[in-house]
Symmetry: C2
Subunit: 330 residues, 2 copies
Amino acid sequence: MIDWIDKARQGQPRAIARLITRLENSDEAAQQIVKALYPQTGQAHIVGVTGAPGSGKSTLVNELAKAFRRQDKRVGIIAVDPSSPFTGGALLGDRVRMRDLAGDSGIFIRSMASRGSLGGLSRATAAAAKVLDAAGFDLILIETVGAGQAEVDIAGAAHTTLVIEAPGMGDDIQSIKAGILEIADILVVNKADRPGAARTVRSLKTMLQLGPTGGTRHHGRIITTPTPAEVDESVWQIPVQETVSTDGTGIEALVDTIEAHRAHLRATDGWLAREKERSRREVRTLLQYRFMARLETAVSANDRDELITAVARRELDPYTAVDKLFGSMK
Amino acid sequence: MIDWIDKARQGQPRAIARLITRLENSDEAAQQIVKALYPQTGQAHIVGVTGAPGSGKSTLVNELAKAFRRQDKRVGIIAVDPSSPFTGGALLGDRVRMRDLAGDSGIFIRSMASRGSLGGLSRATAAAAKVLDAAGFDLILIETVGAGQAEVDIAGAAHTTLVIEAPGMGDDIQSIKAGILEIADILVVNKADRPGAARTVRSLKTMLQLGPTGGTRHHGRIITTPTPAEVDESVWQIPVQETVSTDGTGIEALVDTIEAHRAHLRATDGWLAREKERSRREVRTLLQYRFMARLETAVSANDRDELITAVARRELDPYTAVDKLFGSMK
């Protein structure tokens, strides 16, 4: 295992892939690997990319990866599809992507589709990001399809979150928009050559202004009476940018904005705040896993099943069942 | 509180609404209320309705509610919008719905939109369903917008899950379909008067056949060598039905199918299996809540924050932080 960790640190793709798989599949291995890798992490800029289906996220992520490569940055891509329990979809996307980015050792791609729990997917994503971070990748793009809680959770693992829209989405998408607007650091209207792009940009800007923070994020140091300049520095105005990922329009500008956001986080307390948020989520998840593992050791599967059956049959209420389970762990 | 519980059992809407709010907002109250109500629950048929945005779910749910009312059943509707942190959307939907179903004391409607965690929303939904169940509602329709993990979790609380599609959704929706197909007991193609409806029905049937169970769900008693008749009885063939919710086409047939699924679950081990699954999830969630509450009592917020900051600064790895936290709980 230590051998693989060394090889991953040297950036060997097979070692990286193997470590990610081990992290996903074995809790004991995960503990050993994370303890060894952890001091090397914290350097990569983690960028979450999410948005509604049909917004062209995958193509945009590919173009961003190529643009960052032109700056000689090493780029990891983690493509998460929590809504696809059939791996076929993810694998297909992967193959298209592989053809586009193949043969570049500065790019590593990992696709994830899972019928498992959301928690499992968040953990796997965090694990993959950690390995890529320790392996010296400068930028990690985490792409999620859909627009639900999964995206919000996965965005919690990112320093910078891009929300991608496209013109001509139905009105019913509005409610989804509202949910993901809350997590956006940068809004992107992709397919901006299509009719209605200007209207989509306008409506996003309006939604930002109507939102609770008026379209800003605050990463301030705590200053009781800030000077106007200090206020300006600590506030990030969420931009709305247009791209056409199929012909590259707007991609360089978007790369600049992503860099600007990183610089902004670094210049304020934003970077540490996001690292703390991520650490909090991770420690909480690990705590809950360990607690459930202890419970499973303390109470046999049979006894647990009997309790659950009694709850299902209304012979026992769920709170009393919890009292009993806690009591058994003493 | 006991007073409100009695009134809710008598079906008084204000008492029901108040109890649901109490359950959502206070853990102690929840414990007291659930312990009192729990023995009265387990009678209602809980039906989850989910599907992609634009499929016309809300109108369909309203029509279903009205059709069940014509059979003199009392109907509760819980409308969940996990992707909308701005309550505006949910409130708007609620007002439209209220106008449609207003003045019928046999219908109770609760809208839920939350910026809180997915776990919080699942808990709140389960709580509302429990109050309505104890209050003697025959049918509880839980409607979720979107198509992510939230829907899968909330479907875990239902006996019967309807997945709604509509013709003319883009190909990009396919991957979402795959995810929610796994949870469907009944597939509905709504807006079936639109062009492409027949194609949508065909493609859903094909997806079902290609799926891991060939479009069936098995709720069998454990029979080592079943006769052909026993096999037939224990298998539910997932139907694909067409509706036009705006003019009522197909609604009565859908009501019949929902009833048939309930009868099927009751005739097999399916009903208890789903009650057990729900109980398992609920007990697990309560356990994790109680565990976190104990941790927060054992370790001060300050100490926790110091640990998290050390993890964020890479001075401590997350597994060692978990060791320390567990150690402090002794």
